[in-house]
Symmetry: C2
Subunit: 248 residues, 2 copies
């Protein structure tokens, strides 16, 4: 089984980490659109155009499926990708909502969705959660979270003030959907702020979803990965090596 994984930049490596741990893939081809990152502050038309250009890149490979690790792509361009692709396209929105359902069965419990401005504006998580019967949904664009992760800022006081800034007026949720590939790297701070509630992670959600699919009968002890990027692929490879294989 060969998967393409597409993200606006390096954030999708949080999804790759989960895919590696799952042993469901023989090969992963990762593409990060590092020359145009981030997508989360762009509009739908632009994100669709970039996504379809990336699809052309993946047409050069013999992949079984393309995983749009990026929540912004999954929110804004998944239908357009499906309309143009010869292989299965998997986004992270539906798997995220299915993963939430395993934690939160009372549909009146308050749920918080975090994401980029584009993901939040699309309303796609809210729409799908409503279809699944959830009634108490809040969403919040947390635009500083991506640059905080990319800057590697671990200062507790910066993190705490930023959390307070975004969350001070929000009802304490029973679960949080981390609707951006960068946000799992802030899971500890977000969890601390809200007091140990379930945090829904796109990578883990995708893996749980794949385990329910019939075609995934085989397990692979090793997954071969190739990294591509629209700018400076060596930098992406270095981040991946440091982060996915810290002891390697």
């Amino acid at each position: 089984m060969v998967a393409g994984v597409f993200d606006s930049g390096a954030g999708g490596l949080t999804v790759v980490k989960s895919l590696l741990e799952s042993h469901l893939f023989e090969q992963i081809i990762y593409f990060g659109d590092t020359a145009r990152v981030p997508y989360g502050n762009k509009d739908k038309q632009t994100v669709v155009r970039y996504s379809l250009e990336t699809l052309e890149f993946f047409n050069n490979f013999d992949i079984d499926m393309l995983i749009a690790a990026c929540n912004t792509v999954s929110s804004l361009a998944i239908e357009e990708l499906r309309a143009h692709a010869d292989f299965q396209i998997l986004g992270v929105i539906e798997p995220g909502v299915l993963a939430l359902e395993k934690c939160i069965t009372n549909k009146h419990d308050p749920i918080l969705i975090l994401g980029t401005q584009a993901t939040i504006t699309s309303g796609c998580y809210v729409d799908l959660l409503r279809q699944h019967g959830y009634t108490n949904i809040t969403q919040k664009a947390t635009g500083l979270f991506v640059p905080i992760v990319e800057e590697g800022i671990s200062s507790e006081s910066v993190l705490q003030e930023t959390m307070k800034y975004y969350f001070h007026a929000i009802e304490n949720p029973c679960a949080v959907i981390l609707g951006c590939t960068h946000f799992p790297l802030l899971a500890r701070s977000i969890g601390n702020y809200f007091g140990g509630i379930p945090l829904i992670h796109s990578g883990e959600s995708i893996v749980a979803y794949l385990h329910t699919q019939q075609e995934f009968t085989q397990r692979y002890p090793h997954t071969h990965i190739q990294y591509f990027a629209s700018e400076n692929p060596h930098n992406l490879q270095a981040i991946a090596k440091r982060w996915l294989f810290p002891l390697g």
Copy 2:
């Protein structure tokens, strides 16, 4: 006199504001590369490519000069722009250093340069300041400043903690070069942190520089502006209207 003004996004409007107040231009044509913003986390090759593509856009207009309002473009791509342009190309680095010289005559006084990662990595401010005889130069990439401005965050505690995070280990400077078009919008907080020292602003520096140039003999009571953007020009126009003409 007709100027093109080029920025990676909307940040260059801080420079436009100064140009409007100067009455030196009959017409300004502004282009923001909003579909690919920001430039400050991209590498030189990418910034040069984007800048030369933007130059082609300006070839459609009869401009007397192109002002690279963006410090990242001024740092990484000014020579390449000059090599390909049929009109004068003006960056913000040299005007910034000249403006500093009017405030700081003791070349041993500590100077702090703030900018995007790309501007700081290029070292172009440091090189030019050394050529001008400055000996005590510190520079710092402050990656959160652009998203803080773009998010419109005015929370004093977020701003203070972010300033502390970046500046706690830095010797108190006698002047700060605001080496990014967004940073003048944080001038109050930066000024408060360092206690009312001179802050060098790209827009004011460019205007001071233009006033020394012979060809600027005429003054125009009104400047006509046109806004173009690689994504959602209406959004850029709305920001400009709200920000440059708050009472209009």
